[in-house]
Structures are given as C-alpha cells and as structure tokens.
C-alpha cells in the first residue's frame, strides 16, 4: 500500500508543473476562465437568462395565450348594477375565455388560479381613483356562474367598482398575466398553476383578518399582452 501511494506521488509530481513556474497572471486567467465556465454551465442547466419579454400590444378580439387561459378580450363598458345589495357604478371588461387544462377552473375566488386575478387595468392617476376589482362572473343567457370547464368557451365579465371621482377614458388598456405550472414537491406532487414570475417582492404586511404581521413575498407576474379596448357608455 505504501509503495503504491509513493508511486502515485512520483507520477503526479512528474506530470504536474511546480506552482512557482505558473505565471501569476496565467493563474488569474485560469481562475477567471473556470468561473465563467461554471456560470455559463449553471445558466445553461437552468434554461439560461430567460427574458421576461415585452407584452404583445393587441386590440379587441385577438386570442391571447395565458397558458392557463386562452383569452379573447372583446370590449368594455360602464354600467350601474345592483351589487351586494346596492347600486354600484362599474367598469366591466368582457372576454371569451377557454380553459385549456383538464381541470375545472374559476373566474373569481380566493385561489390564485382564477381568471380575474390575471387581468390588470392600466390606469392614469389623472383619471382619478383607480377602479377596484370586485368580481369576475361568467354569463350564459341570464345565468351568472363562476366555473370555467375544460375546453368550453365561456363569456366572462370582469367587474371594477368606480369611485364617484373616477373618470373613465374612451379607451382602457388591460394587461393579461402569464401562468405556469409549478410542481410542489414530493409531499404534494399534484402541482398547481400560478403567475409566471417576472420577479418577487417581499413586504412587511398585516393580515386584515388575522391581524398577524410578517414578511410576505408576492409574485410580480410576466405580462403576455396589453389589450386596448374602446369603452362603451
């Protein structure tokens, strides 16, 4: 065993150059090259620096692939409806939505994977208080409902409550979020859908229901499209 080890050392020493013979500049260059190779290899293994991309600009009627929903925004209008027992002035954004997955999804609710949570209204501060999203309901005839069944195109009305001082412009632009499926891990391997993250933001918040405070991380989603719609009154 000892002989063997010794012979290894002899071979090793014969092949390797003494460190004093390597120029310090060459050594630095070698380290830098190795570091670059590691970074490039890691990026390659992780899919590279995926660009967040810029949202596609579109008009009414163009189908947008949000991956969780296929959405065709068709129009917007201002109306007054009885909501939660009182007459409310609302901006309503209408869309045909198809659920391409194999599970029943919803238009609105507490989960992240509902259609209404991926619709954002661009708003200029000079038009007054920002409209408040309050609901998204599916409509068939006079029937209102909230399920988006697989592959069944469904007409949806996304509703925003307008403050008295809010002035609705002639055109509004609506941004649509991109979604991706996430594997949750070995304890719950079903996975779930959530916004595709452009970045994450962590804030210190207090839960209005439990009054517990703590740091909460939010996803800032990738936007796939900005759709400009005329507003009917």
């Amino acid at each position: 065993m000892t002989v063997c080890l010794t012979s290894f050392h002899i071979v090793d020493d014969a092949v390797r150059l003494p460190s004093s013979l390597v120029h310090p500049r060459a050594r630095v260059a070698g380290y830098a090259t190795a570091a670059v190779l590691v970074v490039v290899g890691t990026l390659w293994a992780n899919g590279g620096l995926d660009s967040a991309g810029t949202p596609v600009r579109a008009g009414p009627g163009k189908e947008i692939d949000q991956h969780l929903f296929h959405t065709r925004l068709v129009g917007a209008h201002v109306t007054t409806v009885k909501k939660f027992g009182e007459n409310t002035r609302m901006l309503v954004v209408n869309a045909w939505v198809t659920n391409p997955t194999r599970e029943t999804l919803g238009t609105y609710g507490t989960d992240d994977n509902v259609f209404g949570h991926g619709v954002f209204l661009h708003w200029r501060s000079q038009d007054g208080p920002r409209p408040e999203p309050i609901d998204a309901q599916a409509i068939a005839g006079d029937t209102l409902f909230r399920s988006l069944q697989p592959r069944l195109p469904t007409y949806v009305a996304v509703q925003y409550r307008l403050a008295a001082a809010t002035r609705v412009p002639d055109h509004v632009t609506v941004a649509l979020a991109d979604y991706e499926r996430t594997e949750s891990g070995i304890l719950d391997p079903r996975g779930y859908w959530e916004w595709k993250a452009r970045r994450h933001e962590t804030r210190y918040e207090t839960n209005p229901l439990t009054h517990k405070s703590g740091r909460v991380t939010h996803i800032i989603p990738v936007l796939v499209a900005d759709v400009t719609l005329p507003v009917r009154r």
Binding site: T104, T143, F145, R151, L152, D188, P189, R190, Y192
Partner: protein, 212 residues
Amino acid sequence: MRRIASIVLAVALACAAVALQAAHWSYTRAYGPFVKSGRIGRTVTEPLFTIRVDQVDSARTISIPGTEYTKAQEIPANGVFVVVLATIEARRSLVYAGQARLHTRYGDYFPTDKLGGGGGLSKPLVTPLSYVRFQPGMPRRGAYVFDVPREAVAGARLYVSDHDAEDAPFGFYRDDPRRFADEVHVDLGLDPAEAARLTRPPPIGYSVPEPS
C-alpha cells in the same frame, strides 16, 4: 486509478440523486382514492354508501319553474348538459356524496354551478345530489348535471366519492377531498353511437328532478 474511480463514483451518486428526485409516484398512485368500478344500471357498494346510475339524459337548456320569490328561468348550456340520474343510499351513517365529476377525454368536469348555490351560501335552483345528505335506509334519487362540450360525451364516466371539500384534513399545502377517499367510477355506457344519439339533437327545456 483511485482518483478516476472516485470521480466515477461521485458522478454516479450525483446522477442517482437527480434521478431519485425526478422519479416519484404519480399523485393518484401515492394518495389517490380507493376506487371501485361499476356500470350504469348496477349498484356499486362502498363502505359508506351505495350508488346506482339509472339513466343519462342530455339537454340544450334547463327549465327552472318560477316560485313565489323567483321568476321562471331557461338556463342554456355552453356545450351540452349531461344529466346523470342516480340513486344513492347511506350505509352506516349520514354521508354526502359531495365530490362528483364527469371524467372525459378532455378532462374532469365538475357539476355545473349554473344552478346556483355556489359555495353553499345560497340554495340552488335545483338541488343536485352533491348537496344532499344521505341517511341509512333512505335511498334518494336525483341528478348530477354537467355542462360539457359535445365531443367530450363519448366515453364519459361518472366519478363519485364520499368526501367533500371540508372532509380532507390531509396534506401540507392544501386539503384534497380525493385523498384516500372511497370513489366509485361508473361506466355510463356512452359509446360513440350512444353519445351521438344523446347529443343529436338534445332537447330544450329539460326539467331536472329534485331529489325524491
């Protein structure tokens, strides 16, 4: 030689670790329901309930008669309504057959919420079987109503389990009503010919029966 062996061993261990992490049982295999299969017209017996699918109908619209408080309504389907009429009886104690799905080649369809009663906060216009609490010795016949694309009808099967959304305290991330549930899979006999007959042309103004 020893160094090469170490490197090979390290690479092999790393590959094995990655492979182990990537390979896991499917969700259904790991946590899925205990399934018993049956077919239309036959009674399937589960530990907590029995079910027999009696009939499958289809409709383009469903008629809801007016009441003292509501006016009559005609509810249209986005695709076609598939109405599954079944008789369910509890065996030992009070039970809901709350989780019903129509399993098709396009995916799983939950009972339509067009009849109202969403979230259990209001009474639906017609009570589907998923809202009924069954009692031992008192079989009840009623309907599950699904809204599906016409192309999804062929080969559709009814999945019913005795769990409901509040009855699944398992899981780290979310409750799942299907985990370790007793689930019945009923072949509805919807071969392509039967599916074509059922959906061509479906009637309008179908009256969904209340649970008897």
